[in-house]
């Protein structure tokens, strides 16, 4: 009777340990995703700056049909190195906002000096070539063109849709809940350790055999946490991402892949550790002679 009760308690604690581990793994994967280094390395590894450059060239070529401003006016002031630097700084500023609880606004502004100078020079040269005396209309069109160019560049640079998320208040929500997420992550890690210690102490079989229930919990937690990312990768769901714009597609799918692979690797490690614990305890398991008698 007592053995049965002990068994039920151990099973319940093992189940609890599994879910505490799943929660901890999920929280830590989300927390890792909120580090700016993930986005900046994707920008670099995926060559997003080159993709943005090509897209901008196409945008300004297409705009030439309605504005008659040669695309070179813009593209001569833009380089892939500048784009990469600004894209990384742009992303870092947004992540900095999310990770700083008392920050009220994003404080980084992209440096468009070269672009502004190039557009201004074109407008004055063009006006001179047709003997047009710059007036209010000229100034208005010039500032409108500069603003439109800035908007186009910023829209293309924002591969992770961070500005859209900021405008819709999502980044502010993340900023508000991030400390709780970190707290939850630590709490679940603490609970995991407490449960492991409790399971070890409850097992009086001694030696390595004590690792059996801990092994069961860690193994189950690892397998459960690996199930969803494993399913996502096996069914290739990520490549079905609906936004087919090459820049956004590369950025977002890479970000999801980072999250999924990160979770899968951590979960697989835990599952393997659990399996090792179980294997050790099974190998060292010998029935006490007295009990056998």
């Amino acid at each position: 009777m007592k053995t049965g009760r002990y068994m039920i308690v151990r099973i319940l604690l093992t189940v609890l340990l599994s879910f505490a581990m799943v929660g901890y793994l999920a929280c830590s994967a989300v927390t890792a995703l909120l580090s700016p280094s993930v986005c900046t390395s994707i920008i670099e590894d995926e060559g997003l700056a080159e993709k943005v450059y090509a897209a901008l060239e196409k945008d300004f070529k297409s705009a030439y049909n309605t504005t008659a401003i040669p695309p070179e006016t813009y593209m001569d002031a833009i380089t892939t190195e500048w784009l990469e630097e600004e894209m990384q700084a742009h992303a870092e500023a947004r992540f900095d906002y999310m990770n700083t609880p008392d920050k009220h606004e994003i404080t980084y502004d992209t440096d468009f000096t070269a672009l502004e100078e190039s557009i201004t020079a074109f407008f004055y040269e063009y006006a001179e070539s047709i003997d047009y005396e710059p007036d209010d209309v000229f100034e208005e069109k010039l500032s409108e063109t500069i603003e439109n160019a800035k908007k186009t560049v910023l829209k293309r640079m924002d591969a992770f849709y961070l500005d859209t998320l900021y405008e819709n208040g999502m980044l502010t929500k993340v900023q508000r809940y991030l400390p709780y997420l970190n707290g939850l992550s630590w709490g679940l890690w603490g609970l995991t350790l407490v449960l492991i210690v409790t399971l070890i102490l409850l097992d009086r079989s001694g030696g390595w055999r004590r690792s059996y229930w801990t092994g069961c919990g860690v193994f189950c937690g690892g397998v459960l946490a690996a199930a969803v990312p494993g399913y996502i990768l096996m069914t290739d769901r990520i490549s079905g991402f609906a936004i087919k714009d090459p820049i956004v597609y590369a950025a977002i799918t890479d970000l999801i892949e980072y999250f999924v692979y990160g979770l899968l690797v951590k979960a697989a490690i835990f599952a393997a550790v659990g399996l090792i614990f179980i294997a050790i305890s099974v190998v060292f398991n010998k029935k006490p002679k007295e009990a056998e008698k």
Binding site: Y64, T66, L224, E290
Partner: protein, 236 residues
């Protein structure tokens, strides 16, 4: 008392030292129990986000078909000298997005341009485009076609009232005459709205050097001859 404690410890040890098959089966059973609890707990939340996930990761768009986007451009060779059987009544065929479905000819101003079904920047680089919100030629309604002023519709403003405009499609040849020339603001939708009678609306941007043009210029054309092919003559 001591004996009772000893007995108790033995009972615990017995419990701890399960047989190997039980030891090996137990983690699998616990895993199944955990999976069952997880499925039950996540069923409702998953139902809520399922639609969003299906939209975000649409299966039918898994492979980007064009190198630059998900757009699938189909170039068709359209016969402008069809000599087969024809009739004055027939059925219009609605093409797929990105498919070249017609050749537009305006001899008086020297315009001959392929027309693609659907409107976006990529298609506008290839020719004229017809918005999918408008009617296909010959289906009875307003067929709205536009193109860039710097490329294919450079001379559209030279079109005069009475000029002939011909639209060769995969299923027929439709001849129109320019009824009136039009000029409207980008935000003004009066000429691109559906109509009950068959008509062809052509437009492009007004050339503007300092900044984007908000004015559109073009022509509204009325049908003079509608010929439907008895057999489809296009080759891909």
């Amino acid at each position: 008392m001591k004996e009772k404690t000893k007995e108790c410890k033995n009972t615990e040890k017995q419990g701890a030292s399960m047989s190997r098959p039980v030891q090996l089966m137990l983690p699998v059973l616990i895993l199944m129990l955990c999976a069952g609890i997880a499925i039950l707990a996540l069923m409702r939340p998953y139902e809520k986000v399922q639609t969003l996930l299906n939209i975000a990761f649409m299966d039918n768009m898994k492979e980007p078909e064009s190198e630059e986007s998900g757009l699938r451009i189909v170039e068709n060779e359209i016969d402008t000298d069809y000599a087969g059987e024809t009739s004055s009544e027939g059925e219009a065929v609605i093409p797929t997005f990105g498919e070249q479905y017609a050749m537009l000819e305006m001899e008086s101003v020297g315009i001959s341009v392929p027309v693609y079904w659907g409107s976006n920047a990529e298609l506008l680089e290839l020719g004229a485009v017809q918005t999918t919100a408008s009617a296909v030629a010959g289906a009875g309604g307003n067929a709205v076609i536009d193109a860039h002023v710097n490329t294919f519709f450079r001379d559209l403003d030279k079109l005069e009232v009475g000029d002939t405009v011909t639209l060769y499609t995969q299923y027929g040849r439709f001849t129109y005459a320019v009824e009136k020339k039009i000029e409207f603001k980008e935000t003004d939708k009066q000429y691109v709205l559906p109509t009950e009678e068959e008509q062809l609306t052509l437009y492009t941007c007004e050339m503007q050097v300092f900044g984007s043009s908000e004015t559109r210029i073009g022509a509204v054309c009325k049908p003079t001859e509608m010929v439907y092919y008895s057999t489809e003559v296009t080759e891909e």
